[in-house]
Amino acid sequence: MKNTTALYCALLLAGASLTGVHAQTPAAGSKPTVAAPLAPADLYAALGEKAGIVRLVDDFVERLVRHPRIGSQFKDTKPAALKEGLVDQFCQLSGGPCVYEGPDMAELHADMDINKGDFNALVEALQAAMDAQGIAFAQQNRLLALLAPMHRDIITVH
């Protein structure tokens, strides 16, 4: 139940955050899904900075590739490459000194046939990884809130 609650929390927060992006961004941003200005204060520190994010992402990706439902989505991707991209993305999103330079989320997921259940499975794997890293529940929700708006670009099967 905790997981489900957290997801809905994150989605609610995400809605609020996204409104914020549009209010703050005067011109059409090229990458609305990687919005560094949204980073809440000290989330980067709460995640254990770069080293903590690397540990988190290592665990997260291992859970993804072994996942009974969505593991097959990653079978043709080198885990190291996936980790590299996620570390940069989480680091930047949380206010750390990183720049994610990969494809935007829509381009990256366009041909993957991802539905809402797949997306939720990934969120749950991330929550489990954050639990395993001892990241406080409130901090988990702050990261999820930054990631949740991406579902608009990632889910292509309704």
Binding site: K78, A81, E101, D111
Partner: protein, 201 residues
Amino acid sequence: MAASATAGNVQVQVLDKEGRPVPDAVVVVYPSAAVAPVASNVTIAQQRMRFQPLVTVVAPGSRVRFTNLDRWDHHIRGTPSAGAGPGAPAGTNFEMRLAGATADATGGEADVAVHEPGAVLLGCHLHGSMRGHLFVTDSAYTLKTDTDGIARFDQIPEGTAQLRVWHPEQLVDLPRRALQIGAAPVLESVPLSVVPRRRRL
């Protein structure tokens, strides 16, 4: 009555299992007197997470250049196609990492030489959803279908010929058809036994 010595016209439309046109299918015609295809140099770009073009047809002896136009790296691989047919050309298992483009310069480039007919699946180690196809043909009369699912040939010699249709998602090879090419245009419609997935964006 003298038979016309001019080449016949052959138009082939490829349809999916539900009757809709299939673009990017490969249509190969083999006249009774085989005509070898001519080698060429082609470029397959990696752009916005896609292989452009999605399907590339070349002759044995061709040089295929991969050029990364995205801002991030790609790690291209070529492996035997899962599709039916003669399998991958010998010596075309390859992989290479191509650096991303910058504001000032295009990204990494690398060449692959293909020597034998067959189908190669293109992918990327970094972005597992990327797919492309390299079809090395053994007939000069080879075309991809257009957005209407049609391949139009205008120079096929008269006489008997064999027709082959290849599509990466058609895993069970379709039987070849015999064609009789004369003065009148030949119109063929070939259904796949699958419905290929549709690409988004």
